[in-house]
Symmetry: C2
Subunit: 268 residues, 2 copies
């Protein structure tokens, strides 16, 4: 096992480059015992708990990737079951959207941050800490879900799935126990009345209804930036450093905010 002093944990250094070299750990990472207190579950196999908090970037012989794979499946079934009973008349199409919103990376990364679970992740991703800080700040504007407007540190969502996978394996595959452990931790759950669509879908739907042409124009800037044209008229702009998809969503959000104002002015 790797000595804890060699590991980088979120809350550790401020390195500005992604690298695989050893990162000095100034303070020892918190004990995983605390995790058991946070989630209210005591592991029979501490090895599973350790595995769940070991990121692949460490280069260990084990990592949380397999548990994440298991947890993803468990989580899917838990929401499937929950929503099947909660919405006896809902079509599979809407159920799929409802489940997707609750198991996607935006939603799960919030769970990690809300319950401070990210502090225990052992990794060698020096950029992660800053990404988590930005994410924690940005989600304040979108308390439930950003619908594609913020960059999500994938490692956080993966971590939550890994913990779910670890509990599932540890408790002899009882989905009842897993639900009991995670039900409250996963709140606030997105329900039918709080389910929203991504701005880009919303914009397309709105324009289709009005028979308007939508165009996204890449401005080819270093900080990826898109303009939105509706019937050849500029209505919005959005940027994102790394993710094209988020830049487009932000552009659509801005366009939606501006659209009614602009069309009103045109009518006057």
């Amino acid at each position: 096992m790797v000595a804890l002093q060699e590991l980088c944990v979120s809350g550790g250094t401020n390195d500005s480059s992604e690298s695989t070299h050893k990162v000095e750990q100034t303070t020892p990472p918190p004990s995983l015992d605390e995790v058991e207190a946070i989630i209210g579950y005591e592991f029979k196999s501490k090895r599973l708990l350790e595995e769940a908090f070991t990121h692949a970037s460490l280069g260990e012989s084990f990592s949380n990737e397999r548990l994440e794979y298991v947890g993803d499946s468990v989580l899917n079934l838990l929401f499937t079951k929950q929503q099947y009973f909660e919405y006896p008349d809902l079509s599979p199409g809407v159920l799929t959207r409802l489940r997707a919103a609750n198991v996607d990376s935006d939603k799960l990364a919030r769970v990690a941050v809300k319950h401070d679970l990210h502090r225990f992740l052992r990794h060698k991703k020096p950029l992660l800490e800053e990404q988590i800080r930005q994410f924690s700040e940005e989600i304040r504007r979108y308390p439930l879900h950003s619908n594609g407007l913020v960059e999500v540190p994938k490692a956080l969502a993966d971590l939550v799935e890994s913990i779910i996978g670890a509990v599932f394996i540890d408790c002899n595959s009882s989905i009842e126990i897993v639900w009991k452990v995670f039900k409250d931790l996963l709140e606030p759950v997105i329900r039918l009345e709080t389910l929203k669509i991504h701005p880009v879908t919303q914009l397309y739907e709105m324009c289709q209804k009005r028979n308007l042409k939508v165009q996204f124009v890449d401005l080819w800037k270093e900080n990826t930036t898109f303009d939105v044209l509706v019937d050849d008229q500029f209505v919005g702009r959005g940027s994102c450093r790394d993710k094209k998809e988020i830049a487009i969503n932000r552009a659509a959000r801005n366009a939606l905010d501006n659209f009614f104002k602009l069309s009103h002015e045109k009518d006057v």
Copy 2:
């Protein structure tokens, strides 16, 4: 509830067009009691059993779509769990491929046919019977999985997922009971040593290794047909009436079969 005499079941009529009008049933459809004998499970709620065998084409107030949605999730978790323990060293990437092969429509539709479950499906899809007949014939050439070479009647795969969903709901969400009921019915399961990739992927991988250019050329025939060119030389052809994807896979299969022969002749 719809009177059984009004329903079309596979094994019923020979209508050549897809329609929603009532189809005359010459023989009464077999009783769903037989299904319980086939799968070795007695439903507490016969309504769930009935729902699982009611296709949306009937236009009833209920259909098997929601149970199919549930069954899909259950099946995913069952294979996830099974393979997690069976292959303790396998990466999530390979586990994903292994699971996908066992839960895809080609594999599940075989389960329906093998255990005669399709005979009990209540539907109004006059083409389905002929599609099932063709499918049953074609899979003889590919005993385990066709890897994208045959057209699969989706309603059959959906039916198997619905039955799994129905048992899951009926037995108070016990994945242990569901696995006990379906473990043998799902055999032959695809294992690591019998896992194959689709011909089109295989062809691309092979040509990439040899630094050869692959092209698929649509011949724009009524019966969708593709030619495969490797380094601008014709090496294979494939057709499929309805599905472009299958035509391309068949073309790739044919190309793979011909490739070594052709390259040998060129070398001589």
